[in-house]
Assembly symmetry: D2
Homo-oligomer: 338 residues x 4
């Protein structure tokens, strides 16, 4: 009953097989290989758009690279207070970009247009909205919710109106696509996203993350920025191979849909209970029930694995994460235990 | 006839198999898994010393992390003029550490004690040797040569005498061990190396590099430094698995010995020729012959792949790199062509 | 009727005279001169404590140096949402320290113990209070209020309890001393302040700011940090001379008391009026009345100079700043106009 | 007999008087005052060119700001091995720009076209000249020599040919103008200089340095760069006043000519002696004789003050610096003692 994190799972058979196929023979290093070119083409098809792709090792690396590309002296990045790049990346963005992250409180992990408007009118942004270099959204969010295309578009419109770019942290982008049923293009460039962190690791790759730039010529030194922080794999076909396995025949959307479905079963099982509170509707692969400490302890003692998100006196909010590797049996066992 | 670079090769069967084995099931992320612990133990055995190990994605990341751990305001890092961290890492070390790299000219890629003494007496180090935070050596060097343990020791002694730490860039450490026949411990901590970049990628892994700290408690914030630059893999078992395959039964030393042997055959074949000059003795897996441009062009036309290191009028110095994947047939074919 | 800022005023006769006296002859550069030593001694007397003093050109430079001295990878600095270092210094602290500034909302510019406790319990600090490297207070605050010694002490106690240092931004420290009547020692080290930005510029110097470290041995590389960002004046006696004129015979406290008194007259004149709102009690040299736009425009047309702090529909909050150079006549004229 | 440094002297009567005049009354802060505008106009006349001027506190700050304005990821700055920004600024440029300084050995402090060509052909620049973002020259140089306009032009031509900008460190620019008799325009933009650090401190100001940009629109965020490192004086008229006194009626060139003349008397007195060696011709205000240690000790014991530049067994190379404040009597006394 592993619900600790989607990065506790290993790799999908498709990714493992693709990686095994790519291990033989020679190929140019640093991205000049045929497989990297092919996967770039696959991503262009997925997004129905010309694009530049830069593989990087981690989601943090992807976020750092995107924000470095957008950096301005004295600039600001607006994000949510739950944003991974705000709370979990040890201020790498501040150090490498000299920008300040301005977090917006949210009810369920999603920035709202009203929340953005309000933040632009208050300290430290009041009167300084021209300094906002980027608005960064996460989809699926860190709280298991998703933005629909028009929700992204409304935020992007406001960002562009003040001259800010729109960054998408897509560490769980597959879950957002699966949950919304929207085309990847509709969730990104058609809604105004300028560049994104495209994640594969949490959804069945070993370490396959990429920066996707929808205006390929917009950041001519972005390759240098990647190299000088040590994020350029020499054997890039190793990321390319993973993504080939990931993207072929929509494998990435099937695994994400499975993870979402497992989370939906958890929600369904939790929703009716008097001793459990769900404070917002999760539709991607994460669920955050509030349980009594006693219940949480009992579940853990019985072998369930999950993190505490927040302590609240006798209760705790916990985080349950489903992944491609979560089984129906695990979910059933967990709900039965409860 | 692939001699372009050892990072043009793929992965060894041992590494591929270990990675395939590790892909199933769940494991704690961020290094708390059993496999990471086991591989840390394997490295401790290899080096016969207690140590801290931090997996990172690339050799550049490893170098950056080592130098960040050693950084002082206004500090200096002494290296050779060929050092990868000096010429190929786009000044990441300068940006992230605020230190200046002071390169020393070398005859064959190896820093000599006299060269180090001389550098300490001249601008910008003259009178400022107390500002030298680190001396960085590469073994095997970027020019295919190797340091013996006592050569490392003589340099480390000088470094420690001025209060500087000794960093070893071991992107090709396996080749150095294979070429010298020395124990890993004798080439590192017993000779005075304080921390090192331990490389697996060039010798048959996908992306497996590690910072090895020989005084495990010396750098308490090094994990934070790794995280804030986006170098912390979530699924660390993916590096651990590669290194398990790499280290088990000395596979890493066999592949390195093979690469060295292939390079030695190249040297033997080139050494006797009037139309080829070898300016120094290479004993690891890289060879740098000076050929006429016409010869180089002819070899390339016939299918040989290699980089030009330096243009010299009608001649060029080229770089031939052997790896675990270089075959006897390739070497024979290349020499026959010549 | 100049109320735009205290840095629109020039220098006091005492400062001008001291500077004129210091202009002749030779003196060692970079702080090795007798005058610098003498002024360091004067500051030690003012604070009744052994201390290290580093002159710097601006208040921003002082804040940057203090925070660099305290920096930790992935660290946090807690301050108020009005803090100059948060809103007016273009993220220099983030860039140079890699720390995140976490602003606390305040009613009147003063951090409260409850506000600090609350911030420590919420994102991004919840569960990460050990990462808080510094709590930064401003006294007098950016909103014209002051902390009494016990108010500083209560905040410092909380800071030290989580291992954080206490930084004081004392750009208007003289106004705080004059307003509280407290000894400088009681407002600083006796209350738990570890290091401070001591300002002279706003209170009658040309450019005289200093970092004061109450544990002189605590930051051995702080001089190097100052030098590498270009903040080390060669002719340091130029700052020393200003501070000699500033500190001699308590000139600094007289000018600050005068500025505070002028602001108090403004408060008295504004407080009784129905068409003016004062949202908090200012006791230092800044007052923030809310006026109708029409009134503000009328005052400006008549020659009064002041900044708009916040637009509020038909009203605006304005900022009136008094300095050593503000005259009784100016205040009377302003109030008469109103 | 003060020959330690030109920054051991105080201020000229012209500077002192101008500063005294500027101390009264109110003026807008941060450079919006009339005096700052007037001095910007004076500099435009001096240079016969439209320009942007940014006052900064120190020469290091000026150099840092120029190089930040020119920075590129992975870029290089070519300078001499004696360049102040290379040896005396604690790697601030590396930290803030992420660029590598590549020093060129010189005979007398002056970069030669051949020296530059040679550097571009060797490690680390070989094959990477497109990465050179700036060539930085110092005039007068750190060794008391000067570049004539055509010497600057020949270097600038090479710099521009590879897409690099030309930065001039003019900490002693007045001495260069006085020594060459060239127009300031001929030594700068007409010769290809793109932006410069214009120094006043060493030649009779307290702290008056400025970045001069010859293409005023070239660096739109340079003001933000200055602010975020704490280099923006609030009372800018304080620098402006100094420079007004400095520039009016060519006072700056008279003081520089005096300093140069005093140095020339030292050269004349030293040149004929058998026990003194002058290794290059100094024509600005610094002289570097090689003396026996015994002689140097005897001079110091008799009250002469100067720094040792280099120890050489029984000899030492010392540095004698003349300034506006150096008297004929001091020079005579020094030579008599010898």
């Amino acid at each position: 009953m592993q619900f600790a994190s989607d990065n506790w799972s290993g790799v999908t058979p498709e990714v493992a097989a693709a990686l095994a196929r790519a291990g033989d023979g020679f190929a140019p290093a640093y991205g000049d290989d045929a497989l990297t070119a092919r996967v770039t083409g696959m991503l262009a098809e997925v997004f129905e758009h010309e694009l530049a792709v830069l593989f990087v090792p981690t989601g943090t690396a992807a976020n750092l690279l995107c924000l470095q590309a957008l950096a301005r002296p004295g600039g600001y990045v607006v994000c949510t207070e739950q944003a991974h790049l705000h709370v979990d990346e040890l201020n790498g963005a501040e150090l490498l970009t000299g920008m300040k992250l301005v977090p917006i409180a949210t009810a369920d992990g999603r920035m709202s247009p009203a929340g953005l408007d309000d933040a632009l009118a208050r300290s430290p942004l009041a009167g300084r909205s021209a300094r906002v270099a980027a608005v960064s959204l996460t989809n699926a969010t860190e709280l298991g919710t998703v933005y629909a295309p028009d929700e992204v578009a409304r935020l992007a419109e406001r960002a562009h109106a003040i001259g800010a770019a729109v960054h998408l942290d897509g560490a769980r982008f597959a879950n957002a696509v699966a949950a919304t049923g929207a085309f990847p293009a509709d969730l990104t460039w058609r809604a105004g996203v300028d560049l994104m962190s495209f994640g594969g690791t949490k959804n069945g790759c070993w370490a396959a993350e990429a920066v996707v730039v929808f205006d390929p010529g917009a950041h001519p030194t972005i390759g240098d920025l990647r190299q000088r922080t040590g994020h350029t794999f020499s054997k890039q076909r190793f990321v390319a191979a993973q993504l080939e396995g990931y993207l072929t025949d929509d494998a990435w959307l099937r695994t994400a849909a499975h993870a979402n479905a497992m989370a939906a079963r958890l929600v369904a099982g939790l929703a009716g209970r008097l001793d459990v509170t769900l404070e917002w509707d999760s539709t991607a692969n994460e669920v955050f029930p509030v349980l009594s400490r006693a219940t949480a302890a009992r579940l853990r003692a019985a072998g369930a694995s999950f993190h505490t998100e927040q302590e609240r006196g006798d209760d705790e909010m916990v985080r349950l994460v489903a992944s491609f590797a979560t089984t129906d049996d695990d979910v059933s066992a967990f709900l039965a235990l409860l």
